[in-house]
């Protein structure tokens, strides 16, 4: 289960996107999200979809892998689509069964909103989680937020906490699986009985899991202290982040994409989303 691709996991690679400065990637992802929300017309969405496909191809991650990672979000996507389909009102009534009225606007909206959600997922995962290691991501975030230090916000501490939290997710997943196996071997039953019984059945898993998490935290704290960690003050880095011209070029391409989206909205507003 360890190497199952879950939504939000780093996939090793050496593509153009993998090599970009993580700070630029964070800013680019943010801009791209803004651009996605700027898109109103179908033509703009078409352009964005093409660009998303292009970015996915650039990462050289098999598209099948990215599609599989979306599986857990299917429910949210379907739910949003259904809500839009049934509750959107407009001028062009297509058909009606009893109190259910389906308008053309509803269909268009449902389609475009689903597209928007998919684009958001693809954008954030392709720019950030799939192609950037969690460590690089938190490092970049720390540097992007470093101006806040002037306001006495403990930026370094927050990013260190995030790094550690991310680092321990796979460890804890592993640990949980081991404990589940151990208790299953002792005949624990997690799948039958009512809500209360099932809740109670979790106790033999949660208690050892918490204890081991605390134990690990303790050990990690000792190990950090042994290496004289005292916080961010005066700490230097092993890998300093550098932005190359191609990083800025990449950022510019997103800005250009945004401009194109706005233009398409104006010039070819074939069908538009109303939200």
């Amino acid at each position: 289960m360890k190497s199952d691709i879950i939504f939000g996991q780093y996939v090793e690679g050496d593509s153009l996107i993998h090599r970009l400065d993580p700070r630029i990637k964070i800013v680019a992802a943010f801009l791209y999200i803004v651009v996605i929300f700027l898109a109103k017309s179908a033509t703009a969405f078409l352009l964005l979809t093409l660009s998303a496909v292009f970015f996915v191809l650039l990462t050289r991650i098999p598209p099948r892998m990215i599609l599989r990672a979306m599986k857990p979000l299917v429910f949210i996507i379907v739910f949003t689509a259904v809500i839009n389909l049934f509750f959107m009102t407009g001028e062009h009534l297509l058909f009606q069964f009893g109190f259910v009225k389906i308008y053309r606007e509803g269909i268009v909206n449902a389609f475009l909103i689903v597209l928007r959600i998919l684009l958001l997922i693809v954008a954030t995962s392709v720019f950030l989680t799939y192609t950037t290691t969690p460590i690089a991501l938190t490092d970049a975030l720390e540097q992007l937020l470093s101006p806040l230090k002037r306001l006495h916000v403990p930026v370094h501490e927050f990013s260190m906490m995030m790094t550690i939290a991310l680092r321990f997710i796979p460890t804890l997943i592993d640990e949980t699986q081991k404990i589940i196996n151990a208790q299953t071997a002792r005949g624990a039953d997690f799948t039958s009985g009512g809500l209360i019984r099932r809740g109670k059945a979790l106790i033999p898993i949660l208690i050892p899991l918490f204890i081991s998490a605390f134990r690990r935290a303790d050990e990690l704290a000792t190990a950090m202290e042994c290496r004289c960690y005292t916080g961010g003050e005066g700490r230097t880095r092993m890998n300093t982040l550098k932005s190359e011209p191609e990083d800025w070029a990449f950022l510019c391409s997103i800005v250009v994409l945004g401009a194109a989206v706005v233009l398409l909205n104006r010039l070819f507003p074939l069908v538009t989303i109303t939200m």
């Binding site: 404990i179 151990a182 299953t184 071997a185 002792r186 005949g187 039953d189 033999p204 208690i207 050892p208």
Partner: protein, 288 residues
Amino acid sequence: MSAEYAIELRNVIFTYNKSLPSATRALDDVSLTVKSGGITGLIGHTGSGKSTLVQLLNGLLKPDSGTVLLDGIDIWAEPKKIREVRFKAGLVMQYPEYQLFAETVTEDIAFGPKNMGLSGEELEKRVREAASFSGLGEDLLEKSPFDLSGGQKRRVALAGVIAMNPKILILDEPAAGLDPAGRRDILGGIKRFSRESGTTVLIVSHSMEDMAMYCDDVIVMAHAKILMHRPTAEVFSRADELSAVGLDVPLITRVAAALQRNGVDIGLDVYTVDYAVGKLKERLAEKP
């Protein structure tokens, strides 16, 4: 019902991450029989498939193909009854002390038997017996398991499985990380339990010394297959084959090999110090 073999595997294949590019075959067409009673050791370097094998035995994992039989019964014949298989083949996982959770040692040991539906006197009796086999004193029974030492916790976990009265007891590295006295206590307790209750025991270990001391038979695994399955003495006399797959023989066997090279032949089937001492005394007696 008693069958000829306590454990039988027929052409078992198991693959991790089957649908992914990272698919790895952990067991490749493994067939195996273990007779009832006695202690069998399972050795192999890291990643040779030992842990996968033990998890297949009690139904934590399901083979891709092939059958796993306990006492001649296919454990997956009725998937709904897999829990009963888990009571029959008690598994003590690696570092089992991290699975303790109850308020007192007694309650923790009772978790398994309670899941089997036992209660009252029978339950109490099981808990007391299991605690005694694992070498837990009466004074520890009402303590919190989290106040115990590492070795004591390990014994509580062992008792928790023994209390289910399994017909087959499987232990994954039961002595890992313990000091020599702790190893002796825990493995000695397992041996005593096996002899007194007639339980078939399967021990996974890295320690050749422990294997030599406690096991009747040894199974050697390498590269997802079974390399050999022979009585302990015979296995360790094949030192070359063992070292070819990254395993060692007990120190005393290597001493015997060195003696043989230097003209003092006491045989290569030497794997305990006592046996070697006896053999050497015999030789000394021969030459006045």
